[in-house]
Symmetry: C2
Subunit: 100 residues, 2 copies
């Protein structure tokens, strides 16, 4: 099992804008080989921003990497960025292999 | 759905020690109300350390918080730390609420 997370720092007050952007996004993930589940996660807030993480579960790192090279990936990210001023810095990708 | 993650920086060369410590741990989680799944995740490495994250899925933040106040939690952490010199700094907790 492989978990792909992208961490986003969203300016305070723009949390709902960010969530709605993800809700309206067409990810095309359900038809991707090896894809198991997707969630958008909301973490803690400080005085400047709220941490969010996209969280997708895959059968393997190979299936995730194949998706990042696919047309489905390109389509999913074609209109993904939204209003730039809600982001405090670029997203930070982290990939994890389940070892237990 | 709530996801509780604890991030650990493990000194290079001690990855297997850390994984074996978790494999031998009696977590007592299966009997905890609201608990859904546990994985130990291995992330990327740099020249000093490898990132790991414990990753547990719960029905709600309330069920996770109730567990942290329980005897089961105390038992699970009684012998959890292991050899101190494998850790580069303290673990970093992050809790996430699934919003999609």
């Amino acid at each position: 099992m492989f978990i792909a997370m992208n961490r986003f720092k969203i300016a305070i007050g723009h949390e709902n804008d960010f969530i709605e952007m993800w809700k309206s996004r067409e990810s095309h993930l359900d038809s991707v080989p090896g894809f198991k589940a997707f969630h958008l996660l909301q973490g803690s807030s400080d005085e400047n921003c709220t941490l969010f993480a996209s969280h997708s579960v895959w059968e393997s790192a190979d299936s995730f990497n194949a998706w990042t090279q696919s047309d489905a990936f390109r389509k999913a990210h074609a209109h993904a960025s939204g209003a730039k001023d809600i982001y405090l810095g670029p997203p930070q990708f982290e990939g994890f292999e389940a070892v237990i």
